[in-house]
Amino acid sequence: MPAATTKSAFWRGFRDGLPFVLGATPFGLLFGVLGTEAGLNLVEVMSMSVLVIAGASQFTALSQMQENAPVIMVLLAALAVNMRMAMYSASLAPHLGAAPFWQRAVAAYILVDNAYAVSAAEYEKRPDQRVDEKMSFYIGCAIPVWVFWYFSTLAGALLGQTVPPEFALDFAVPIAFLAIVAPMLRTLAHVAAALTSLVLGLLLAFLPYSSGLLIAAAAAMLVGAEIERRMGDRFQ
């Protein structure tokens, strides 16, 4: 009986996670293409996708590297983009925290935006599932995007140098970033944080080693958090 319910939880998760492949695949392709064009070899591009599995962060690293930023600034900017995952980890912990260590270690490796969002919604809808069902749902949900991330990066990297320069691929990263951010502008606090980041990012762009980016990001986070606090729970 438990085996049957965890199996069905897995497939329910898989079905709910599958549509996100459509969103992730173009980013994987693009990362493969741009990484290769920027001068990374196949092993380096693939290692990044296998170890990091986070589009926005990988593009951030790539974009910083194209500016020849110092290694530490590349890392700080790319890791800053991933800090949101600590929040995902914290919000999944009450549901998955009782699972065996190795399962939690695997779950952490494939913790991406959609796996978090879909699972959090599922646990809210069906709070009374056992931990093994919750874990099965989560793993099922994360697998499609995870696997497609590898293969789309590989396809992009193999295509890489065959893309003609007329395609203005230099601008693919800005477009991809804006397309990721714009749907996140759900509340006044998000909009204010984004505008702060935009304005300070331009004003501080003259600072060396992309340090303006980190100052702008820190200020924008404070603005977002402060506005949320002042709004109270009206926008929660």
Binding site: V81, A86, L178, A182, S197
Partner: protein
Amino acid sequence: MNYSTFDLWIIIAVLGIGTYLIRFSFLGPLGRTALPPLVLRLLRYTPVAVLPALVAPLVFWPAATGGEPDAARILAAVATTALGYWTKNVIAAIFGGAAVLAIGLYLF
């Protein structure tokens, strides 16, 4: 891009390990430690706080034009943001923005 092989592997490895530790944090060693509300609020804004500052200089002073502002790229950025904001659809925003960029590059 001008990095030694060693630097490249440092970037790849530290980014990979650092990202894993962020993901594992509360599922692993930090267990069910409750995050202070202020920290939760700050974390919620990391993507919208980092990405615009990263993108803005690329939009207004693109390397491909030698740093000269370029109407096609600025219009494409505006179109992508507007589409993403109204449709909440990342893919629609990308293709819409790319179409505006292609038309703009052809016209200007």
